[in-house]
Symmetry: none
Subunit: 207 residues, 4 copies
DNA sequence: TATGAATGAGACTTCATTCAT
DNA sequence: AATGAATGAAGTCTCATTCAT
């Protein structure tokens, strides 16, 4: 007989996570104190530990947040017909992710998550697992393109997927470091790279 | 009136930095104590502060280590003749960087440096500065290729440079997270991407 | 206007005390949290405070538990005829107390009560009061023996009583520390001590 | 190449232990904060942890303090000739221990040590070990008396030793609880008990 | 120059207690 | 009466940095 409903609990938990995200983004994980999160979230010190067992647990929870990756995956899944269209969707999705001002904190915290993943198995698993799902999906898309004859047979679908992901990880880093990301230019470049690589005649993308 | 020579001092300093690199790689920056570095380096607690004013100063020094980037730059500079050859050199250099077991600690610490750069201006400047130099050099190489007619005129040299760097940053991350980096596969993929993008006819690389 | 009967209330209270006794015995008073008692007793956190105003109040209640001392006193009171028989009864009673496996928790918590009594007046009063009653009763028994001529006139009844109690306190401690208590051997020793001390000719006990 | 000598270190350590003893005696172990010990000892918070790894470690060190037990043992060892004299020495020694105002804190902390010993193996080992040594020595003394014909052959040396120790433990408790310890009366009682028990004719002690 | 003992501010976490439901 | 979520004060321990030797 719980005193609060599951949804109230979830709301409270999210309220803490949102506050933590802002704090971590602003000050970094290790320079954020639980007192900071408490102040930012409006809950009490004790309540924090009613929802998370540990400060580390909070980052893990942030890293585990599948909402973003899931959106990508389902976007990709929709493009079951055409591989090239699917890749276009992918570029678009990532492009938005890179520049969406609502995701600034998310991007900055991701980078801290990478650093933590080097020594925190839970975060490591979360990141690697999330990446692997996307990578499989992209590789499958390319393989489908090969089966359809849309994509050259001699490219390695998984290698391309891995490389694409790496590129977006690097761009995420650069965006967070304040490098200007000219989405149009990057988009053209990546379009050109992919189509040059994948299409039999190097036909222009979307053209 | 220094009691030790400049070179003795430099040796000592490097000894501390080497120890710090091992510690940071193993435990992360924030989970490494100055006591750890002292233990690993063999110098005393007090001595540490004769060479670095602050623990943060040690990461800054590691981030500032230009030795690696400089090697890349000079390698690139040598290929003044042929843009395509220059890019080949670049891929080779980065490929080695990614897989060189002697650079494992370096790669891991780089990632932590990225996280620190978000809030430490000195590290930020160091990373961004280092990247910018490489990026300029690559863009120049491509522009030279365009001037020579080797490279398509409608590509954006800087966009390509930025993208390339991003990709290698992402691969560095993946390597440190334990993802298998199949250098041959990645190399073929990147070769294909670059040549598909850059060369007028999408001619095969090095073929 | 109570919503539960007095006996329901008493049952509930005892249920909490029993749980607390197990917890305190296992983990010590200060390492037992109210949450532990809640878990062990099956009542809720809030309910605990309907029955006890404070965690300290729970130990006080346990220390105040007169059931054991009362049993001793009434046993002693029954032996109004013969002092030597009365002392025999006493040894028997204490011997059982020391070895009764049902009283293991009780003994362990007693020792913690001693430590608490040093700074908690209520517990102090409870322990000292309980001891004093027993001590008076024993001294009275001996004095009666002196009046009857059963016991040497030159012994100090109160000194003997105090010493006897001390011995049993020490044995309680030793039992709880895991020392083997050979009841037969201890019984013979104490029998010998008492009779050697008390009886005019040092006649053998119960012989 | 230590900066302080072993003896300086030992002095500092003892200074902390002395302060801790006062604090524990006054407020109890669990109601003493490390801040209290720091205040009372005059060292800094950090220094405390240079000498003890843990707050628990401080009690263990206090329990481990063999100085008192050793004094008793060597006193007993001196009385190699006469068992009855040896026991007299023992009573005297314990009598002084019980009433020595310089040992008030020690006695109070002992009782807390008993409570801790129930769940702290190091303290348990310390107390039990210390007691065992004394017990062996007393039993040996009595056995020697039996060999000499001074002591009745039918008493159990170890049982007597254990009982004696128990009595003094109990008296320590009572003394700390504020019970008046009339040393003369207790001494006569114990003298009578021991001699009634041990001597063939129940001859008067020291008479 | 080098040392390492000392410092003390501050972090994370626990837990007795309360109170709205 | 009973519940259990919420509270926040407080405690232990760590660690970057200093400074007398």
């Amino acid at each position: 007989m719980p005193k609060i409903t599951e949804s109230q609990r979830e709301t409270r938990r999210q309220q803490i996570l949102d506050a933590a995200l802002r704090c971590f983004s602003r000050d970094g994980f290790h320079n954020t104190t639980t007192a900071d999160i408490v102040r930012e979230s409006g809950v009490s010190q004790g309540t924090l530990y009613l929802y998370f067992t540990t400060k580390d647990d909070i980052i893990v929870a942030l890293a585990d947040d599948r909402r973003h990756g899931d959106a990508l995956l389902s976007a990709l899944a929709q493009s079951e017909q055409d591989a090239v269209d699917g890749l276009g969707l992918l570029l678009e999705f990532y492009g938005r992710s890179l520049s969406d001002p609502n995701r600034t904190d998310s991007r900055r915290v991701s980078i801290q998550g990478w650093a933590e993943a080097l020594r925190n198995p839970a975060i490591h698993a979360s990141i690697v697992g999330n990446t692997a799902a996307v990578r499989r999906q992209i590789a499958a898309l390319i393989a489908r393109g090969q089966a359809d004859g849309q994509v050259r047979a001699d490219v390695d679908p998984d290698g391309v997927a891995q490389t694409l992901i790496a590129t977006f990880q690097g761009l995420t880093l650069q965006a967070s470091l304040g490098e200007v990301i000219d989405l149009a230019a990057i988009g053209r470049t990546m379009d050109g790279m992919l189509l040059g690589l994948l299409t039999p005649a190097g036909r222009a993308a979307h053209a």
